[in-house]
Amino acid sequence: MTKEDIQKLLEQFPRERTHLLPALHAVQEELRYLSGEALEVVSSYLRVPASEVHGVASAYPELRFNEPGHHILRICTGLSCHVNGGTNLLEELRSTLKIEPGQTTAEGHLTLEEVPCLFLCAVGPAVEWDGEFIGRVNANTLKSILSIDNGKEETG
């Protein structure tokens, strides 16, 4: 996406600071993350100093500053999921994928994230796979999720 594209994207918003978070959302939806360049465009479009745009963006856990892997797997280890096995699932993923939460597999294929709640507590353990929520997850569900993509994915 060029600067001009980002600028275009932002033109849906009036140039007022109140639209900062919506603008960041819009950019992240398109780009999958917030690049420095994109933040600069947001800054000048909304007339908010760039440092503040950065400061605001970095206050929210769901906004990213690095391009994530092709897939994003987020796994909940909140208390309700933990007590029903969520943490064990994370351990398994750690050892199969050989990455830590927050990291991306070598080929930039999959980013693994640990989250404190997906608000599916009553159907935990829960994961989010590329934006889609999945509940009552067990080791088998995880395997099948990862194998959907096995053509490209070398898990391990």
Binding site: E16, R17, T18, H19, L20, L21, P22, L24, H25, L46, V48, G55, V56, A59, Y60, P61, E62, L63, T77, G78, L79, S80, H82, V83, N84, P116, C117, L118, F119, L120, C121, A122, V123, G124, A126, F133, I134, G135, R136
Partner: protein, 551 residues
Amino acid sequence: MSYSQLKARAKKRLSQGLGTQYPRVLVQVANCSQAVGAGEALESLRREVTQRGLKVSVVEAGCDGACYQAPVVLLQHPDGRAFRFTQVVPSGVPELVQGWLEGKPDDLRPWNGESPLWTMDGDKSGFWSLQKRLVLEDCGQISSQDIDEYIARGGYASLGQVLSSLSPEQVIETVEKSGLAGRGGAYFPVARKWQGARAQTKTPRYLVINAEEGEPGIFKDRHIMEGISHRLIEGMVIAAYAIGAERGFLYINGEAHLSAQRMIHALRQAEENQLLGDNILDSGFSFHVEVRRGAGGYVLGEETALLNSIEGERDVPRTRPPFPVEAGLWQQPTVINNVETLSNLPYILSPNGADFASLGIERSKGTKVISLSGRVERPGLVEVPMGTTIRRIVFDIGGGPLPGHDIKGVVAGGPSGGLLPYSQLDIPIQSGMLDEQGAVLGSGGITVLDETISTVEAVRRLAAYNAAESCSKCTPCREGTDRILHILDKMMEGKGQPQDLDDLTYLAEIVGFGSLCGLGQMAGGPIRSGMHHFGDEFAASVGVPKNDRRA
């Protein structure tokens, strides 16, 4: 258009649909049921019905709260009978359709039909009978996306009544009498807050609907927005009228996509029906709502952090005073209310509304929607009168422990609450502290723990959450929660020392009393209550033998 005209129109339209002569099937699709296949079940049902050319209307509804049964399919027969299929596996849908819908709608099978692909709920469990549903009434029973269904069942009648015959002051008075207090967790009297805003001469005033719902273990507001969207809209317009706000923000959690989607749809419908926007129901009163989305974080739900977020600032809490009712959004008087709070208003302002105050116990009126999860047989969403004991919620409604396990306690109020041991579960739910040590009702999260769980680990998880979610603004919270976590980490690694217990107590105190906002102020709760009620486990983890503890 007047309300009665509106209602007549809705009824007329509905009577022209299939639903009045032929069976109607509702699939309960909501955030979590979607996660266990409700969406697929709906798809395949639609497919089957079309393929077979059946005269059956298929409706997408929200969930009714029996998460343990999700996905749920309801069959409503025109003669009034209804059947409830639970844990419906998408691949079981053809069988379901074939067996139940095709051919002879009069020859329905009796209760207790069983299939490996679905089960039937006869509610022998008590899950339903012990609940009292005001906020969740009709949730899961109607389409939340068809405003006429809500209207036909009397929805928006309270708003019609309010706009046609009550002054804002009278509305506030009614709400005051009801004793309604905020369901976002702080239980501040709603009428008092509204009066505070009305007392300000500055205009414009704003209404902010807090649908951020970012506390782990809570999923009630999503549920309301997904399942009974129009009740919330009716409530917010009543509130806006009472405080004299012409503009509002519905701030929905950034991950609650389904809630946002359904609310946006419902808001549009409400506007089309002149129930929102300009000149509502020809009353001259106008109210416009803008939907905003969050981007994660517990503290974002804190009301002043939310205001900062709307203004395009970091979502850190503000100092108080001034309070939002005096100087909130853009320094204008602003009322912030929770989704559940507002969803109580249609009932309170209905002809039966006076009953509200008779529900519950002294100082805590009405019902509360509880999000029940953890090591329990029937996790889900439960609405009970205030004053119901936790034991009743966990055992009688929630079905008690998982087979073969023993409940050792619950976490009440999540990371901002505390632990209660099995022996203390007879405490009735109410606003304020549930016990001296830190357990609170908060926004109504109850997570059940059994013997498989180390209490120290449970507390550590809550502490880790608080440390990670600290917004960074104030020192005791940012630093103290982190210190607490480090000590607990050390203890979990078996490197704890007796001194650590004193440090934990000290830190919990400093963080609790020193912090700026509720996050830090409540962050000591899990620590204090864990150490108090499960002292043995804590003592053991720092190597102190059981009987030496008090020495």
